[in-house]
Symmetry: C2
């Protein structure tokens, strides 16, 4: 285990009706709020009204910014930062999934930054100050509600880049699992695939972390137990609650501290989303099994076997290679059982950009669990086409 510093001060208000504490959560942080949301589904399901009622009752000033894109764009961040400065905003309050929260985080930093917001995405070290963020989560997926990261897209330059800073970690997040009961089967599946990918990106490290790996397996089991259940029974509160809590823990640092490694599948997927604007979790579900097959070797088989035996119930008496192969097939099957596509062609992605996407992704996969060159990444895209 490597040395690390653990610091996760985000307060989580978990459970049905926790939004009623919003006034008390905001009180120590500020009284001028920027409400950030996406396509407006929160206006149909009552969450918007509940929040606005609380803000009004408590004389909390609020400005609104709706229309955050599924892959949030830098123009939207700029718009939010300008609003913050213009209206003297003290707290940024996203209501939504990871896209909305990611956007709000970079808005919070850009509001305190003199230059252009895209600087903060390109170079995280420029984030020196940020307004506090309080998030209200409506989709279990990215873990943005408890982590330091935000991914922003620049469609002009076809770049989708992750930035991160402890200053971006929300001060508090409200996790009400009942909010996710109206999430579609497809988005539930994509979100669960995203959570599972975060767990596995942390799992596949060359540095030993026994405790961390057992925690990762426990979280993965939680996704396996409840992903399909939540799709089959959208109102299953226990399923929604377990997936929601798993989303936060998959990527809040806990699994990776002491055993850091550069991620493999996320950088490859970010290129797909940047070029084709597809749902992040769908891209991950397509690529993950192919990445696994590509990096499976005598050297990596034991790690795949451990994951399979401990999380998927693979027979421990199999050889490492046999067990590893089963682990990979179970993963692929599970994504399909949730109704997710297995091929890039199914989401309209052809070979036309494989070279350029592979070049870009390889900048980040060179120091992964199994180091991947642009040629390796292209080969994985080919397997997934």
């Amino acid at each position: 285990m490597k040395n690390f510093v653990y610091a996760i001060p985000t307060k989580i208000y978990f459970g049905e009706g926790q939004v009623n504490k919003l006034d008390r959560i905001l009180a120590p942080l500020g009284s001028r709020v920027l409400l950030v949301y996406g396509g407006g589904s929160i206006k149909k399901n009552g969450i918007y009204d509940a929040v606005v009622d609380i803000l009004k009752e408590n004389d909390i000033f609020y400005e609104e910014m709706g229309g955050v894109e599924p892959n949030p764009r830098i123009e939207t961040v700029r718009r939010g930062a300008a609003l913050c400065r213009e209206k003297g905003i003290e707290v940024v309050l996203p209501i939504g999934g990871g896209s909305t929260i990611d956007c709000a985080k970079v808005v919070a930093a850009a509001a305190c930054y003199d230059g252009d917001a895209w600087d903060l995405v390109k170079d995280a070290r420029r984030i020196r100050k940020a307004l506090p963020v309080v998030s209200i989560l409506t989709l279990s997926a990215t873990g943005s509600e408890m982590d330091t990261f935000a991914v922003i897209s620049n469609m002009e330059t076809k770049e989708k880049i992750g930035t991160g800073s402890p200053l971006l970690r929300p001060a508090a997040s409200i996790l009400d699992p009942s909010y996710t009961e109206s999430v579609s089967a497809y988005q539930t599946a994509a979100g669960t695939a995203d959570i599972m990918s975060h767990i596995m990106e942390a799992y596949f490290s060359n540095i030993e972390g026994y405790l961390q790996d057992r925690m990762a397996e426990g979280l993965l089991k939680t996704c396996i137990e409840f992903g399909v259940k939540a799709i089959q029974n959208p109102d299953d509160y226990e399923a929604r609650a377990n997936l929601m809590w798993a989303s936060s823990w998959a990527i809040n640092d806990f699994l990776a501290l002491g055993k850091p490694v550069a991620w493999s599948v996320h950088p490859m997927e970010h290129e797909l989303s940047a070029f084709y604007d597809i749902t992040h979790g769908v891209g991950l579900a397509i690529l993950t099994p192919h990445w696994m097959r590509y990096v499976l070797s005598e050297k990596t088989a034991e790690k795949f076997k451990a994951l399979g035996v401990n999380a998927w119930g693979v027979d421990s008496s199999l050889t490492a290679m046999e067990a590893a192969a089963q682990t990979i097939e179970r993963t692929a099957e599970y994504f399909q059982r949730m109704g997710l596509p297995a091929r890039l062609a199914e989401v309209g992605i052809g070979e036309e950009n494989f070279d350029v996407m592979a070049q870009k992704a390889a900048a980040q996969t060179r120091s992964s669990y199994v180091p991947l060159t642009a040629e390796d990444v292209k080969a994985i895209y080919q397997m997934a086409k």
Copy 2:
């Protein structure tokens, strides 16, 4: 899963040599420090010198209070609180195991309280303010380095009482696993039994928490993997590191949030320590298997089976009762394999106080996983005698 609020702001500086960051950790908290420690082993192993050097180099004023007892006493707390007031202390800095840290936490609260320190132990609601605590851990056991609790003894009244408040959670803790390499086999075993007991106290709840239970099993597996290893190879850094990180997570709230329950074995053990001043983890190791046998029934068997299958590798094809019985035997065997006693007689405890101890413990076990009356508790003491 029940509603909960998660808030664990303690920063953890984990790994070899992290003490070198002490000046930076203290900087935002204060520059007048009370060093708190126990019997003085830290003066033999170099930790005391390392800390004092850093304090001197950085012109940080410090006062010392040594001699904290293994079951820390209220008189010591009073002495520390008086020192804090007299010397204008701003930060309490315990170096040691759970006893020293527990003592320091109540000192930190008592320094800000006008009445007698024992009030704060008897009634946690009286804790309204506390100095920040920065702990340097030298024994993996109680989890005091990241939790809200402190247990203080009053030998006059033969009371050993736990108090707790979010204000007692350390602001930061330094966890250097190499500090525990000099811990004796017996204390390593007792500490590991304490961690295992915390995990199991949280596990056995009647409220569902799938994710929490899988996390608990992962932590328990970590103890099973490394407890005996650390005893056999005291210098095994990976073993020491995993046990240390497990000690913090076993009781920092994570496992119990969403599925709270009154504890069973701890209240029974606290009476043993209060009457006989035995090592806490030893008492837990003696009582736990007997408590398990006593509460095992058709109703509880599935929960014991889940723990056995998922953490101890018990055969999942066994009936619930068969698997549960194996779970219990594996637990008892493991404690013995670590060299811990299995009977109260082995630590000099006879039947003379069973009645009064059972009466006192039952005040807290009435709402446990399986509710226990004074008669039940006495029966468990009888089984363990």
